[in-house]
Each structure stands twice: as structure tokens, then as C-alpha cells.
């Protein structure tokens, strides 16, 4: 554990030391900001997508956006607060199962009921698991939290497979579409824009949060939990709070996913999906919200394309691509355009005041 803390610290030094390797776009506090440009480009692309994509690709894109929402939840927890939640699928999947049961057993498919319900399921399960793993006398190590959450997700997967009420291995198929009054959200452009709208709102909320002073506290948490406890931060509470928020967002994503795909199955709470979301975020670049979105789009898009074109060997190619990115862009694809300084960001007062104040 000590080792991992130390290693994290070295990582930081190494990054700072190797700034020469990243000659691209090192933006200073007074330089131009790259991040908003990237965000804008992605948003415009997302808005236009259904106009240029074929039907089935719009449906695929909807799924990707839901997964991006899910990735956002993990990024918030890992990229900003340094909590390695290797079991994020637990919240995603339990919400999915929850709303699937609502639809199956109680015939509740009203969007105004099911989405809040999914969010609350995600929130509650994150609160319980987070409470156990993160609170307590000893601050918990990164490795402990990662294995703890992994095990949680693994156990939930086992439970889902074994429990008949949840459909066992087969999951719950044929979930009725989400509805609003008489309108049914079936897959297609309407669903796409609904999901995109939700993503944008959640994204903006997250953005607001991580750039606030609260975000600074999270950054402190990520760097050195013990240290900020000595400032008087309730470090473990902060962790539990952000973990819970992450769980709620994952829950929201999970319920959308369940209705969009029309079924839920044990993998959705299990290790496979948990690992997948970690990949999305690292691939895109953790610690930048847009990185999580970009990572999801690219990983999903590339595997979709590969499985079409290299049918027998696509997992191997995907593995190679992942490895190359991780090797040469350990900070994710976003680091092609974004410098270290802008990624970590600065939480001080408005840039204008800053420049005046700095001599």
C-alpha cells in the first residue's frame, strides 16, 4: 500500500520531468484553452450525427452515448477523486436490473419514474458499498478499494447468475420500451437526442462540480488523502460523497441502457463491463471529462468497425491498439492536444484576476 502511494507520487514526478516528451500544446495559465474547443467540437459532432448516420448506426450511437454517460461516472470517481472503482458496473447493472424488474413485474415504464428510480438504485448501492469500503478508521488504499469494488461486482455477477427471480444466466429479456404518456421511446433518433440531452446536462453538472472549490478538494484527495485530512477536510466523507454521485450517474446510465437494449444480463453488473469502462476512460484520458466521452466513442467505434472487418481476429487487434495507446499515451488520447497543466487545471480565482495579481 505504501508502495502504491509512493508510486503514484513518482508518477507525478515522472510526468513533470517528461514534459519535453509532450511538446504539443503546453498551455500556460495565460495561453489559449484547448479543452473548451475539444468539447465544442464533440458536441457539434454529436448533434449532427443522426443526420448523417444510417438508422442502425444511430441506434449504435445511442448506445455509445449511454456508455459515455457511464464512463463519465467512472471518470468522476477515478480521474478526479482518485478512487479506483473497479466495480463501477455494479451500480450500472443493478439499476438496469432494477428498472427491468419495474417494467416486468409492475409494468412501470414511465420515463419520469424509471430514470429517477434507476438513479436512486445506483446511488443507494454506491452509498452502501462506498460506506463499507471507504469509511472507517484506516484510510483505505487504492489497491484495496480497487479489489474491493472488483470483488463486489464479481459477487453481484454471481448473485445475478444464481438467482432465479433475476432470470439467472439468461437475464431479463424483452423489456417494454420506456414511455411518456402514450409515447414510446423506441430506438432511433428520438431516443438518441433524449440520451444526448441527458449526457449534456450531466456533463455540465460534473464540469461545474469538478471546477468548483469542491473539485479542488477532490484533487487534493487524489494527490494525498492523509495530507488533506490534516487541513481539516473530512477526506473519507468527501470520498463517499463523490463515490455516491458516481454511483447515481452510473445508475442513470444503466437504466437508459436497459431500456435501450431491451434486456439485462449478468455481465452488466460484472467484471467484464467494469473493466470495459476503465478502458474507455484510460483510453480517452482520465481526469478530463471529455476524455471519458471520447474514449468511449473511440473504443466502441473501433471495436464495432473491427468486428465487422476482421471478424476472426478483432479482439487481438483491439488489444494491440489498446496497448499502443497505453504505452505511448499513458494519459490517454486527449493528451495529444492537451498539456499536463491544463489537464490538472487550476482552481484559482478567475483567470483575469490571476494575471493581474501575478507580478
Amino acid at each position: 500500500m505504501l508502495k502504491s502511494m509512493g508510486a503514484a507520487k513518482q508518477a507525478v514526478h515522472a510526468n513533470v520531468g517528461s514534459e519535453t516528451d509532450v511538446p504539443v500544446a503546453k498551455s500556460t495559465s495565460s495561453g489559449r484553452k484547448i479543452l473548451p474547443i475539444v468539447e465544442g467540437v464533440v458536441l457539434v459532432a454529436a448533434l449532427l450525427a443522426p443526420l448523417v448516420l444510417q438508422d442502425y448506426l444511430t441506434v449504435f450511437a445511442t448506445r455509445v452515448i449511454i456508455l459515455a454517460l457511464f464512463a463519465l461516472s467512472f471518470d468522476l470517481v477515478w480521474g478526479y477523486a482518485g478512487i479506483m472503482s473497479f466495480g463501477q458496473a455494479l451500480f450500472f447493472g443493478s439499476a438496469g436490473y432494477g428498472v427491468a424488474l419495474l417494467a416486468r413485474d409492475l409494468d412501470i415504464t414511465n420515463i419520469l419514474l424509471v430514470l429517477p428510480a434507476g438513479t436512486i438504485i445506483g446511488l443507494t448501492s454506491a452509498l452502501l458499498l462506498g460506506g463499507f469500503l471507504l469509511l472507517g478508521r484506516h484510510p483505505s488504499s487504492v489497491i484495496f478499494v480497487s479489489l474491493g469494488t472488483l470483488t463486489g461486482s464479481y459477487a453481484a455477477d454471481r448473485l445475478a447468475r444464481g438467482w432465479y427471480y433475476l432470470g439467472g444466466q439468461n437475464g431479463i429479456p424483452s423489456i417494454a420500451p420506456m414511455s411518456l404518456g402514450g409515447y414510446e421511446f423506441t430506438e432511433g433518433p428520438a431516443f438518441y437526442y433524449l440520451v444526448l440531452g441527458i449526457l449534456v446536462v450531466v456533463y455540465l453538472l460534473c464540469r461545474f462540480l469538478v471546477r468548483s472549490q469542491f473539485g479542488l478538494a477532490l484533487a487534493g484527495l487524489r494527490e494525498n488523502e492523509q495530507r488533506i485530512a490534516f487541513f481539516g477536510y473530512k477526506a473519507q466523507h468527501l470520498k463517499a460523497i463523490i463515490f455516491t454521485i458516481g454511483g447515481a450517474i452510473a445508475g442513470l446510465a444503466g437504466s437508459l441502457y436497459a431500456f435501450h437494449e431491451g434486456f439485462v444480463w449478468p455481465n452488466m453488473v460484472g467484471v467484464v463491463v467494469s473493466t470495459q469502462v476503465v478502458l474507455y476512460v484510460l483510453f480517452g484520458g482520465s481526469g478530463t471529462l471529455i476524455g471519458a466521452v471520447i474514449g468511449t466513442v473511440i473504443v466502441e467505434g473501433v471495436s464495432f468497425w473491427l468486428s465487422d472487418n476482421y471478424r476472426d481476429v478483432w479482439p487481438i487487434i483491439l488489444g494491440l491498439l489498446l496497448l499502443l495507446v497505453i504505452l505511448f499515451r499513458p494519459l490517454g488520447l486527449i493528451s495529444f492536444v492537451l498539456g499536463e497543466r491544463e489537464r490538472v487545471g487550476s482552481f484559482g480565482a478567475k483567470p483575469k484576476e490571476k494575471r493581474n495579481a501575478a507580478p
Binding site: 444464481g162 444466466q169 437494449e261 444480463w265
Partner: protein
């Protein structure tokens, strides 16, 4: 949305990658073989067939995306595929309810799938147990153990098997479920030995089944006259253990390769398959290859009868479709049930090969829906 002209599009969605890729690839090969054959004979309704194959990758979410490709991009007229029940559940809705397409599921399974427009062409528990279990009691003994992997197929199959065992005067000593990837079975083996079980009716699946049989063997189960039984065991699974470790294992399926010795039609398709696909992916019943063959031929018969390719007409014809020749013999759909009658064979492993020891008198009823 089907074009009246141009080729008829057949969609295959199966596990080309992932842990059961050996089965998925065999199914895809069978489909290629059958489509080639039909096209060589002039196609269907005067139109050629075109094959669209997508990977389900043993990953339900990848699968759904790829199945949508089949339905929405390629606009196939029918989808055949899915091997595990969970995969069937994942893709059936996008195919049948949302995609408004016909779906054929080729694998032996636990039964109880009664979705409209979804046709099953593999064996059901009734077909695999009704004649097999009495044979086991006669050729093994009355005391059964049901060690099982913990998922839906064994659970449902065991309910049926237990009923058949008990109504034939047998006794179930224990029925126990294990996590799917459990690989140590010492306590199970011990219970089997100390309870003097006669027949181990196994539904443990790989990876557990190899070590399980080995441990049983090492504990002297076979030496003291015990009988192994496993209804998904085909030519592929024989290699999991050394021949001695599963000597005498009995299985009941719709096809075994040894049938080629007695059945010219089986010899013909087996030879055709091996010529086109000489690799590792065997034409075997446990991997749904026979169900795929049967499914495609039944569908061909239905299309011919309907004279049209729209879902309603084909489904109406498929409801009572028949083929005179298929792997293991003729097959026919049970009207209104969307399941298939077929011949069943009981085979026993001897020195690394199967020997047929019993066969059904005629076509066995699936007893579903």
C-alpha cells in the same frame, strides 16, 4: 422491407470469437455449406441466397449491436444463431419484436422458449431424457447424482431429468450446483464415492468438467463400475479428458459422427463439410452444427412452400415444415409449437470414440410449448 428482387438474405449471428468460438465457427461453416448447396441447386424462388455473418463474441452487448447491423443495415430476411440461452435472450428481442424478423435458434437447450416467430431446431430436455434415462438405469444403476453448473440449462434440465429418473424407479442421491468456473470438485467426488452413486448425470460444463471427470476417475469411480452420463457430450468434448478417464461415458444427442457408417446421408454431409472446412471446427451436435443444418433446411422447405419471403408467410409454413433427410435422420416441426421432432441416439465413449448403443424408434417429441 424486403426487396422483391435480388438475393434473399440469410443472417447468421454466432460466437465467432470468445470461449465458445469453436462452436460458433462450426455453425457459420455449416451455414456456408448449406447456402452454397442451395445456390448450386438454383437458389430459392429463383433468387440466389446471400449470407451475412456477424459475431456475437460471447458478449451480449456486442451481440446486440451486431444483430442490429444484420437487421437494420443488411436487412436480412431471417436470422439464425445464438448458442447459449443468454445469447438467445439478448438477441431475440432485437430480432423478433423490434426487428420484425424471423429467428431460428439451433442449439440443444432447456426448453420453455415460446416466443412467436422464434423457432428452435435443437433437442429439448424431453428428447434428451425420455429414452436416455431408462437406458441409464438399466445399464448403470438406480442411484443418480446430479452435479451441475449453476445456470438455467442445468436447473431446468434437472427438474425434467429428476422426474424421469423417479418415475422409472431411480433415485436422486444429490443434486448440487457449482459456480460456472469451479475447477476443484473434491467434496463432490467424495460424496459420489461414499454414497455409492451408480450414475453421475453430469451438467457441469467446461472448464470444470475436465478436472471433475479426472478427479472422479482418480478416486476410482469408474473402476468400481460407475457410469458417467452427459447429454451435451459430442466429438469436441471427448478431447477434454484422456480416453481412460471417461471410458463408458454415455450421451444422448441427435447426431454422432459414427452414424456416417450406417447412414449414407450423414456420410454425405459429413464428407462435404470436411472437404470444405478441413480445420478444427467439427460438425458436431453439441455445438449446434446439426441444429443449424436442420434449421436452414426446414426454413428452405418453408420458403418453398410459402412461395414468398415475408415473415408471416414463411413462419406459417415453417410451423409445419418437414425434411426427409438431415443429420441423424428426418425432422419435422410440431405444428403450433415451433419446436422440432427428430431422432435421438444414445452413444457410449469407448477408447476415445463413440459407439451407438441405442436409438429412438421414430421421431421424438420435443414436448414444448
Amino acid at each position: 422491407a424486403n426487396a422483391a428482387e435480388g438475393p434473399i438474405k440469410v443472417g447468421i449471428a454466432t460466437d465467432l470469437t470468445g470461449p465458445i468460438a469453436y462452436a460458433g465457427n462450426a455453425d457459420a461453416n455449416v451455414a456456408k455449406m448449406v447456402i452454397k448447396e442451395i445456390n448450386a441447386a438454383g437458389g430459392l424462388l429463383g433468387r440466389p441466397l446471400e449470407l451475412y455473418i456477424e459475431d456475437t463474441a460471447s458478449n451480449e452487448s456486442v451481440a446486440v449491436g451486431n444483430v442490429r447491423k444484420l437487421i437494420q443495415r443488411d436487412k436480412v430476411d431471417m436470422v439464425l444463431g445464438g448458442i447459449t440461452s443468454s445469447m438467445r435472450n439478448a438477441i431475440k428481442d432485437p430480432i423478433v419484436a423490434r426487428g420484425k424478423t424471423l429467428y431460428i435458434y439451433p442449439q440443444l437447450y432447456e426448453g420453455k422458449e415460446c416466443t412467436p416467430y422464434l423457432f428452435c431446431t435443437g433437442p429439448t430436455p424431453a428428447q434428451q431424457c425420455d429414452e436416455f434415462i431408462p437406458w441409464l438405469i438399466k445399464n448403470g444403476g438406480k442411484k443418480f447424482a446430479l452435479p451441475s453448473a449453476n445456470y438455467v440449462w442445468p436447473h431446468t434440465l434437472n427438474v425434467y431429468a429428476r422426474k424421469v429418473i423417479e418415475s422409472n424407479g431411480g433415485e436422486v442421491v444429490f443434486e448440487e450446483y457449482y459456480p460456472l468456473d469451479q475447477v476443484d470438485f473434491s467434496s463432490t467426488v467424495n460424496r459420489i464415492i461414499s454414497n455409492k452413486v451408480d450414475v453421475v448425470f453430469n451438467t457441469v460444463i467446461p472448464p470444470g468438467v475436465g478436472p471433475f471427470f479426472k478427479q472422479l476417475y482418480e478416486a476410482g469411480f469408474l473402476k468400481s463400475g460407475g457410469r458417467l452420463a452427459c447429454v451435451y457430450y459430442d466429438e469436441n468434448t471427448l478431447n477434454i479428458n484422456q480416453a481412460a478417464e471417461i471410458e463408458g461415458l454415455a450421451s444422448c444427442l441427435d447426431y454422432f459422427k459414427v452414424l456416417t457408417k450406417e447412414n449414407p446421408f450423414d456420410a454425405k454431409i459429413q464428407a462435404a463439410y470436411e472437404k470444405d472446412f478441413p480445420g478444427n471446427f467439427l460438425f458436431a451436435a453439441g455445438s449446434a452444427a446439426t441444429g443449424t443444418y436442420r434449421g436452414l433446411k426446414l426454413w428452405e422447405a418453408a420458403v418453398k412452400e410459402a412461395g414468398k419471403i415475408d415473415r408471416e408467410s414463411v413462419a406459417a409454413a415453417l410451423d409445419h415444415a418437414k425434411i426427409a433427410e438431415g443429420p441423424g435422420g428426418p425432422a419435422e416441426m410440431v405444428p403450433g409449437k415451433r419446436h422440432c421432432k427428430m431422432k435421438m441416439y444414445t452413444a457410449v465413449a469407448k477408447g476415445g470414440n463413440y459407439e451407438i448403443v441405442a436409438r429412438s424408434n421414430g421421431l421424438v417429441d420435443p414436448k414444448e410449448c
